[in-house]
C-alpha cells in the first residue's frame, strides 16, 4: 500500500469501520463484537505493515502526507511518522486489539460501546500521527467525547463523577494548549506545521532569522506542559486518574493506562520541547524534580490503597514519573549541552518506559479486571489464596506484576533503570531519590501480591465464581506476557527505530539552545 494512504487508513479505518455497526441488529451482540475485533485487528495489521515499511536508518519524518484542510488559516491535514511516534502507533493498535478482546464483559448497549471505542481509536491514532498542531489539537479533543461516554455510561457506581472530572481536567488543559497554539501561530507567520515551528524555534528555518522570544517560550512551555502533564499524569494534576481508572470498565482502563497516558509524554517530546527549547531548558530541573516526586509519591500512595484498581492507577502515576524524568535530564552548562548522550539515553528510556508501561499496566488492569469479572469487588484485603484456585491466572498475573516492579528480563526494567542511570549526569541528588523508588515499588507490589494471590484460601464474597481463565482471557494474558518478556530480553528491538529520531532531536535542541543562548548574550532578543 502506498505510504501516504497507509497512514490515512490507519487513522480513519476504525471510524469508518464503526459506520456499518449502525446497521447491526441490537441483539446480534456476538456479531458486533467480532466485527469490532476484526476492525481493531485490521488496524493493528496496518500498523504492523507500517512497522515493516519503516526505515529505521532515517531520522526524519516518513510517509509524510500533506493536504490543505483550512486554507484560510493555513491548517494542513498532514500526517507522518518517525521513530518517536512509530512505537506508540503500534502500541495503540496492539492495546486496542487486546482491550477489544477484553470487551466481552460489556453487555449493556454493545453497539454504542463499540462505535465509541472505534472512534476513540481513530482519535488516538490521529494524535500520534498528525504533524499539524491544529490537527493534533483536534484529534486530541476527539478522544475526549468517546472517553467521556465510555466511562460515563459503562463505568462503575461513581462513573458520572469520574467522567466529568476527566472531562474537566482535560478540557482545562486543552484550553491552555489552544492559547499556546495561537501564540506559536501568530509568532510564526501563521503556521501550524509542527516541523516548521520546530525549525523556527531552532533558528534553522529558511523563512525567518530570529527565534521565539524567551518570555514567550517560557509562557508557552508552561501552558503546554500543564496541558500534557494532566494527561501524563504528573503530580499535582493526577487526581483525575484514580477516579477515572476505578470507575472505567476494564477495557477502557486498559486503553487509558496503555495509550492515553502516553499522549502526555508524546506531547512533551514532540511539541513542548522542540517548540520551546529555551522554555524546556528553563524548566528542565523542575520537570525532573516533578518526575522524581511523582515516582515516590505515586509509590507511597499506591501502598496505602485497598482498592486493587486504585492501587494500579497510582502505580501508573509512579511509573510515568520515570518518563518525565527521562525526558527532562537535559544538562546545560553555559549554553552548551553536557553529556548529550546521557540525555539521549534518558529520552530513549522515557520512550521505552512509555511502551513498557503500556504493556505492563494494560496487563495489570486486565488482571484486575479478570478478578473483578468473577467476584465483583476489588478490595485487596478481601482477597487472598487466588493462586490456589486459579494457578494459571496467578502465574500470568505474577509475571505482569513483576514487569511492573521492574524485574530484569521484563519490559519494565529497562525503561526505569536507564532513565535513572541517565539522571546522575543531570543531578546526582534526583538520581538517588529516583533510585530509591525501586525499593518502594518492590514494597507495594510484593505486598499486594501477597495479600491477593498468596495465602491458603479466598475468604471474600462469591468464592464459587473463581474459575480459571477462559481461552480468550488466556490468549490476552499470554500475548501480554510474551511482549513483556520480548522487550525485556531484546530491548534493542524497540531502541533501534527510535534511536535515529531521538538523536536528531537532541542534537537539534542542543544546537538551537546554543543559538538562542548566543542571541541572548548578544542581546538580540527581548
Amino acid at each position: 500500500m502506498s505510504p501516504e494512504t497507509l497512514l490515512t487508513c490507519i487513522v480513519f479505518l476504525p471510524a469508518v469501520w464503526a459506520i456499518p455497526l449502525v446497521l447491526f441488529d441490537a441483539k446480534a451482540k456476538e456479531a458486533m463484537r467480532y466485527w469490532g475485533v476484526l476492525g481493531t485487528a485490521l488496524t493493528f495489521a496496518l500498523t504492523l505493515q507500517l512497522l515493516m515499511q519503516f526505515d529505521s536508518s532515517k531520522s526524519g519524518m516518513q510517509f509524510k502526507f500533506d493536504t490543505p484542510w483550512i486554507a484560510n488559516w493555513n491548517v494542513f491535514f498532514s500526517l507522518g511518522v518517525d521513530g518517536i511516534s512509530l512505537p506508540l502507533v503500534v502500541l495503540t493498535g496492539f492495546v486496542c486489539l487486546l482491550s477489544m478482546l477484553a470487551s466481552w464483559s460489556i453487555d449493556k448497549n454493545v453497539k454504542g460501546y463499540l462505535i465509541l471505542f472505534l472512534i476513540l481509536e481513530t482519535g488516538m491514532m490521529g494524535v500520534f500521527l498528525s504533524l499539524d498542531f491544529f490537527l493534533f489539537y483536534v484529534f486530541w479533543e476527539v478522544m475526549l467525547l468517546p472517553m467521556y461516554f465510555l466511562i460515563g455510561i459503562w463505568g462503575g457506581p461513581r462513573r458520572e463523577y469520574a467522567a466529568i472530572k476527566f472531562f474537566l481536567y482535560t478540557l482545562a488543559g486543552s484550553v491552555l494548549m489552544l492559547i499556546a497554539m495561537l501564540m506559536f501561530y501568530f509568532n510564526s507567520d501563521r503556521s501550524f506545521d509542527l516541523l516548521e515551528l520546530a525549525k523556527i524555534a531552532s533558528g534553522t528555518s529558511a523563512g525567518r532569522s530570529h527565534v521565539y522570544g524567551m518570555s514567550m517560550q517560557v509562557a508557552a512551555f508552561i501552558m503546554l506542559f500543564i496541558g500534557f502533564a494532566i494527561k501524563l499524569p504528573s503530580f499535582p494534576f493526577h487526581t483525575w486518574l484514580p477516579d477515572a481508572h476505578v470507575e472505567a470498565p476494564t477495557p477502557i482502563s486498559m486503553i487509558l493506562a496503555g495509550v492515553l497516558l502516553k499522549m502526555g509524554g508524546y506531547g512533551i517530546i514532540r511539541i513542548a520541547f522542540p517548540l520551546c527549547p529555551y522554555g524546556a531548558q528553563y524548566a528542565a530541573y523542575f520537570l525532573a524534580a516533578l518526575g522524581v516526586f511523582s515516582i515516590i509519591y505515586g509509590a507511597f500512595a499506591a501502598m496505602a490503597q485497598t482498592d486493587f484498581k486504585r492501587l494500579v492507577a497510582y502505580s501508573s502515576v509512579s511509573h510515568m514519573g520515570y518518563v518525565l524524568l527521562g525526558i527532562a535530564v537535559w544538562k546545560i552548562v553555559d549554553g552548551k549541552t553536557v553529556g548529550r548522550e546521557y540525555w539521549e539515553m534518558g529520552l530513549n528510556a522515557a520512550m521505552f518506559q512509555m511502551i513498557a508501561h503500556g504493556i505492563s499496566s494494560t496487563g495489570m488492569f486486565f488482571m484486575v479486571g479478570v478478578l473483578y469479572d468473577r467476584v465483583h469487588h476489588r478490595d485487596i484485603n478481601k482477597f487472598g489464596g487466588i493462586a490456589q484456585v486459579m494457578p494459571h491466572y496467578a502465574a500470568l498475573a505474577a509475571v505482569i506484576f513483576f514487569a511492573g516492579l521492574g524485574l530484569p528480563g521484563l519490559c519494565g526494567f529497562v525503561g526505569e533503570v536507564f532513565s535513572v542511570l541517565a539522571c546522575w549526569n543531570f543531578s546526582p541528588l534526583l538520581a538517588i531519590v529516583a533510585a530509591s523508588g525501586v525499593i518502594l515499588t518492590a514494597g507495594y507490589i510484593l505486598w499486594t501480591m501477597q495479600r491477593v494471590y498468596l495465602g491458603p484460601e479466598y475468604k471474600g464474597p462469591h468464592p464459587e465464581a473463581l474459575v480459571e481463565m477462559n481461552s480468550r482471557e488466556l490468549a490476552i494474558g499470554y500475548t501480554l506476557v510474551a511482549t513483556a518478556i520480548l522487550f525485556g530480553v531484546l530491548p534493542h528491538l524497540l531502541f533501534d527505530p527510535m534511536h535515529g529520531s531521538i538523536q536528531a532531536l537532541t542534537q537539534s535542541l542542543a544546537s538551537s539552545y546554543e543559538t538562542l543562548y548566543g542571541a541572548i548574550h548578544t542581546s538580540q532578543l527581548p
Binding site: P68, W69, I70, A71, N72, W73, G112, Y137, V138, E141, V142, L144, L145, F149, G152, I153, R159, E160, I164, F167, L168, L171, A172, V175, L176, L178, I179, L182, M183, Y185, F186, D189
Partner: protein, 544 residues
C-alpha cells in the same frame, strides 16, 4: 420636475455609485418575493384556498425562491465585476456582506418553516398569520443586514421586532405565552425608543444619517476638540450609548437581556429557535456595519473612538458570557437554559466585534499591519463562521426540544432522563448539539470559537485588556461545560424512570431525518471547514 425626469431617474440613478430605482428593485427582489408570498398567503385564506393547499407551501415556496435569488446574486458577484452599490438612494447597500446575511436568513427561514411543519405549530387556522409574521420578520432582518442609513437601521429593527412580539404570544390561550409577549413588547418598545432617541441625537450632531458619511463627519466635528469636557463629545457618547442599548436589546447583552429568558420560556420552542438565531444574526450584521463605518479609516479621533468602543464591547462581552453561563447552570427548564446559553453565545460573538474594533483602531499603524495582515476580515470570518454553525446547533437543540415536548408535554430537563434508551436518535443529536455549543472538536462550534479567540489573541497585541477577554472566553468555555454536559448526561447516562411518558420516534420518520440533517450539518461543518470559511472571508472583505 416633470414625469420624464422622474422616470429617467427611475431607470438610471442620478448619483454616482448609487443604483437606479429600477436596479434597486431588482436587487431588492428577495425581499419582494417574501412580501408577495405574505400577501399571497393572506389572499389564499381570503378565498379559502388554504383548505386545498396548506399555507406553509406558500411560505416554503417564497423562502426557497428568495434564497435561490440571493444565491444567484451571490454568483453574479462572484464572477462578473459587479461592484457594491447603494440602493434606494443610499438607504441600503448591496454587497457580499449583505448578500451573505440575506442568504443566511432566507436559508434559515426555510429550515424554520420546515421545523414548524414537522412539529405541527401552528394549526391550520393560524398558519397564514404565523407564516406571514415569520416572513415579515425575516424581511425586517434582511433590511437590517443591508441597512446603510440610520433610518433604515431603525425600520429594520422595528420590522424584525414587531412580528417577533406577536409570534412570542402566538399561543393565545397560554398565560405564560401572553405574559412573555407583553414583557417582550414593552421591553422591546422601550429599548427601541431609547435607541431612536440616540439616533436623533447622533444624526443631529453629525448632521447626517448615512453610514458612509458618519466617519468623515465625526472627523470633521472632533478634529479640533476631543475629550469629554466638550458637550458635543458627551452628547455623541450618550447617543452612541443609547444606540448600543438598542443593539444590546436585540443581542440580549447583559444588562439588557432581561426579556430573553422570559420570552424564550413563554414562547413556543420553534419561535425561540427562530429568535435566538435570526434576530441575533441580523443584529450582528447591523452592528458590524455601523461600527466599521463609524471606525472609518481609523485615523485620528476615529482610532480613539473605535479603540474605546471596542474595549467597551469587550467588557460587555466578558460580563455577558460569564453571566449567561452562570445563570444557565441552575435552570430546570431547558428552553430557559437555552435562552441563557444564547446570551452567553452572544457574548462570545461580541468578542469578535470588539476584537475587530480594537484591531481597526491601529489600521493606520503600518508597522503593526506589516506583520498582522488583514486581521479585520479574519475577525469577521470568525464571527460569520460562528453564526453559521450556531444556526445549526441551536436550531437542532430547539427542534429536539419541540419534538420531545410534542410527546411528553414537558420541557423540564429532569423529564429527559434516559431518553437515549427510547429515542437514541434524539439523544445523540442533542449530545452533538450540546458539545458543539461547548465548542469541542470535531464539531463545528469549536472552529467558530477558535477563530474568534484567534483574533482576540491578535488584538492583545494592541491592548492588554484583550487578554482578559481571552481569559474570560477560555474560562467560560470550561464553565459552560457543566450545564451542557448535564443535558447530555441526563439523556444518555441516567435511566428512564418507570413512570415517565414513553417517547417514540422512528429513526426513519421525517422529524428524525430533520434532526439528523441539522446535527449532521454541525458535524459536517466541523470536518469540512474550507468552503464556508472561504465564503465567510470573501463576504467579510466587503466591509473593508
Amino acid at each position: 420636475m416633470d414625469f420624464e425626469a422622474l422616470f429617467k431617474q427611475f431607470l438610471s440613478g442620478d448619483v454616482a455609485q448609487q443604483a437606479s430605482i429600477l436596479r434597486s428593485l431588482t436587487i431588492f427582489l428577495p425581499e419582494l418575493v417574501l412580501s408577495s408570498s405574505i400577501v399571497l398567503m393572506l389572499v389564499a385564506r381570503l378565498v379559502s384556498l388554504d383548505r386545498i393547499i396548506p399555507t406553509h407551501w406558500f411560505a416554503l415556496l417564497g423562502g426557497m425562491t428568495s434564497f435561490v435569488i440571493v444565491l444567484f446574486q451571490f454568483w453574479e458577484f462572484g464572477n462578473s465585476q459587479t461592484v457594491p452599490v447603494e440602493v434606494f438612494t443610499g438607504l441600503a447597500i448591496h454587497d457580499e456582506f449583505s448578500i451573505f446575511f440575506r442568504g443566511f436568513l432566507t436559508f434559515f427561514l426555510v429550515f424554520v418553516i420546515a421545523l414548524t411543519v414537522l412539529t405541527g405549530i401552528p394549526d391550520d387556522e393560524d398558519a397564514p398569520d404565523f407564516y406571514s409574521l415569520l416572513c415579515g420578520a425575516v424581511v425586517g432582518m434582511m433590511l437590517m443586514s443591508s441597512a446603510n442609513h440610520l433610518l433604515m437601521l431603525f425600520i429594520g429593527i422595528e420590522m424584525a421586532s414587531v412580528p417577533s412580539y406577536a409570534m412570542t404570544g402566538f399561543l393565545k390561550g397560554k398565560r405564560r405565552s401572553s405574559e412573555a409577549a407583553l414583557k417582550f413588547v414593552v421591553y422591546g418598545a422601550g429599548a427601541a425608543g431609547v435607541m431612536l432617541f440616540g439616533i436623533s441625537l447622533l444624526t443631529g450632531i453629525l448632521g447626517t444619517a448615512q453610514f458612509s458619511e458618519l466617519a468623515p463627519r465625526f472627523q470633521a466635528v472632533f478634529a479640533n476638540h476631543a475629550g469629554m469636557q466638550d458637550p458635543a463629545t458627551r452628547c455623541v457618547a450618550l447617543a452612541l450609548l443609547m444606540i448600543a442599548v438598542g443593539f444590546a436589546f436585540k443581542l440580549s447583552l447583559v444588562p439588557f437581556h432581561f426579556w430573553c429568558p422570559d420570552a424564550f420560556h413563554g414562547a413556543p420552542a420553534e419561535v425561540g429557535g427562530f429568535l435566538s438565531v435570526g434576530s441575533k444574526a441580523a443584529a450582528f450584521a447591523l452592528l458590524v456595519r455601523l461600527t466599521t463605518s463609524l471606525a472609518g479609516d481609523g485615523s485620528g479621533a476615529l482610532s480613539q473612538l473605535s479603540l474605546s468602543s471596542g474595549l467597551g464591547l469587550g467588557l460587555i462581552a466578558i460580563i455577558t458570557t460569564t453571566f449567561g453561563n452562570l445563570a444557565a447552570y441552575s435552570q430546570r427548564n431547558i428552553k430557559r437554559m437555552l435562552a441563557y446559553s444564547t446570551i452567553a453565545h452572544a457574548g462570545y460573538m461580541l468578542m469578535a466585534v470588539s476584537a475587530l474594533l480594537v484591531l481597526q483602531s491601529v489600521q493606520t499603524d503600518l508597522v503593526f499591519q506589516g506583520n498582522h495582515q488583514e486581521n479585520g476580515p479574519r475577525a469577521m470570518e470568525g464571527l460569520l463562521y460562528y453564526l453559521c454553525v450556531y444556526l445549526f446547533m441551536n436550531l437542532g437543540a430547539f427542534a429536539i426540544v419541540a419534538l420531545i415536548r410534542n410527546q411528553t408535554y414537558s420541557e423540564e430537563i429532569d423529564d429527559y432522563k434516559g431518553l437515549a434508551q427510547q429515542v437514541p436518535v434524539l439523544a445523540i443529536c442533542m449530545a452533538i448539539c450540546m458539545f458543539s455549543l461547548v465548542g469541542i472538536p470535531p464539531l463545528g462550534g469549536f472552529y467558530g470559537k477558535a477563530f474568534i479567540f484567534a483574533s482576540v489573541y491578535e488584538a492583545t497585541n494592541v491592548h492588554w485588556f484583550m487578554w482578559l477577554v481571552l481569559a474570560a472566553g477560555g474560562l467560560n468555555t470550561v464553565i459552560s461545560l457543566f450545564y451542557y454536559l448535564r443535558v447530555a448526561k441526563t439523556m444518555c447516562m441516567d435511566s428512564r424512570p418507570a413512570d415517565a411518558v414513553p417517547v417514540t420516534l422512528a429513526a426513519s420518520s421525517s422529524p428524525a431525518m430533520y434532526v439528523m440533517l441539522v446535527s449532521g450539518m454541525v458535524v459536517f461543518l466541523g470536518i469540512i471547514i474550507d468552503p464556508l470559511s472561504k465564503v465567510a472571508l470573501h463576504a467579510a472583505h466587503a466591509l473593508f
